[in-house]
Symmetry: none
Subunit: 196 residues, 4 copies
């Protein structure tokens, strides 16, 4: 087969996600990816500039799809700030449900991405968090959300918390339910731990 068929580019990305999740970026050899993707080593370099490029593309694909969903929703609906924050949490969790390996790569290799390109890394999810911030502000204005806390802290807080939970879930091999976790998160974010 010499002429383009199938989708080697996609096969390679998927093989890479599996390898990175299992052994980590640095311990994954190009030949591991190639074997799993059922292509020759050289073919990896036909589709991606180098190993870093593969990792970058994985993150780009992931965040593009997360951002797309939530930005559509924010434009086309009129959800209350409270509902919107819940939706954002839902969408973020949902992005990983189909493929726990992406969740593992997402958490473990984030430092790698930052090392490769700080700018790329920041742009990646900044847009997403900006939308969240916007709705938090609205909620505060409408006196739905508390005036007491700092928005920047909140966005980092909530993002870090979710990241860690997703990681935990991905490594538990289905022993915990992500839907249940999702609901707990939404409850905690809204109410905290004190009895109301």
């Amino acid at each position: 087969m010499r002429h383009k068929e199938g989708n080697k580019g996609k096969d390679i990305i998927e093989a890479a996600i599996t390898c990175f999740a299992k052994k980590g970026y640095h311990h994954t050899k190009i030949i591991d990816i190639a074997v799993l993707a059922n292509v020759a080593v050289g073919s990896v370099y036909v589709y991606y500039k180098d190993k870093e490029d593969i990792l970058l593309k994985i993150f780009k694909n992931l965040w593009d799809s997360i951002y797309f969903k939530i930005s559509e929703l924010s434009k086309n609906s009129n959800l209350s700030p409270e509902k919107m924050i819940a939706a954002m949490i839902d969408d973020l969790f949902d992005a990983f449900i189909e493929n726990p390996n992406i969740a593992i790569v997402f958490v473990n290799e984030q430092p790698q991405i930052a090392k490769i390109s700080r700018t790329f890394y920041n742009k990646l999810y900044e847009r997403y968090l900006d939308i969240g911030e916007e709705f938090i502000k609205k909620g505060i204005e409408k006196k739905i959300f508390s005036q007491e806390f700092n928005i920047k802290t909140f966005r980092i807080f909530i993002f870090g918390a979710i990241r860690h939970l997703i990681h935990h879930w991905a490594e538990s091999n289905g022993k915990v339910s992500l839907s249940k976790i999702k609901e707990d998160v939404k409850y905690l974010v809204k109410n905290g731990i004190l009895v109301r």
Copy 2:
């Protein structure tokens, strides 16, 4: 003896923390550490078995000191569950204040540690989180804390959130105040974002 006797073992650990924070574990060469610690390459191997061992020791030192503080407190005081949770958050944050580089290594190289030894990794902070869990349970029993949420989720949630905030602070080069963040976290944990 007049010469600086110093403590080569400690010098090496400190040099390693700086290097790992700056370039990441995998991009740090043993010679980088040796040069910064002002010792010969061979000396690194006198004090540590190999490169992994250095990273392991960094994490061990860190968690031992965090755990020690909080376990003393839990044994010797009679703080309310609410106060105890706040103290745990305080102590965790405080562990990093003196050296932001440890915070960066702590967050970035956690996956490495897990790769090296899953068991070691789990034991590292399990003891700490167990104490937290215990006090959450007490709080729920005493109806101080809500019955609604899942304790496991909570411990992961809060830990992930704090980890991410500490990382953010460490990389901001002192532009954000960790004390302020600490207070916000305690507020959020207790109350969530809804107006009470």
Copy 3:
């Protein structure tokens, strides 16, 4: 047919000469040649067996044309040994005037050719130098040329000198006149540097 039919084989050779001159044989990629010749990579292999074959053909074409000119002259004219040697020098220089890139390839890649095939390499210009040797002998017999020197040394001497001058000219980007050089060479060969 309206389309440029062209001569792909020739286009490829010409592109190769340009590439080899600019980057050297080893640093030239087949795709570089293909792009410059405006053909597909695969087409290069339709016309030439492999990369070496292209280089071989360049040298063969060059020497065939040089030899053809001078062998015609030697057969059909009755020039004196002195004039004949001058004519050979002229012709050798002239072969490069139209395309300095060939001169650069000629000098730089000669070792390559020798590496590829010692026999081929020798045959390449042996015929040409043989003619020269023949006329030197005649000149010595007729007492026009000195008895003192060794013919073999002379043929190597003169050829090396010319090769180096041509190279120098080719790399000077037209800043020196090849015609002037040619005259100087003829003078030096005949007279040496001593005042007569």
Copy 4:
């Protein structure tokens, strides 16, 4: 043996000269050099930055020694221009007599050197040729040498001729005498081919 002994740096250079002469720079693998020098691959990189660096050092050593000899002579003696030119030719030839392999590398890899660093390449023998030029000028002034020819052409001419002859000798495996060639060259340079 862990502590510096012997002279691995020199062994590597010598092995490299042999390999480059036999197979050419591009066809020589680092491991070829290492094996011949009786060191490990890694050791080559302890002494030299990379493959190019080895080649550069070979040329630098060669020209430094040629230049040193002739510059001493030019400063400390009062040779006539005629004798001086002869001495320069002698010295250049002599540099190769002990090691024909250097001669082969010298001729074959010169283009490589130019490709690596044009500046380095020019500086290499420019000093040597400058001295030659100086004595040619003196000879012309004193009417010993002919006014007719161009000095620049001469220096390129003579250098190219010698280079080629040395190469020829080095590849002949001792079948031709370099001393005899040397004398012929001196004769040709002085007298040319015409009967006086």
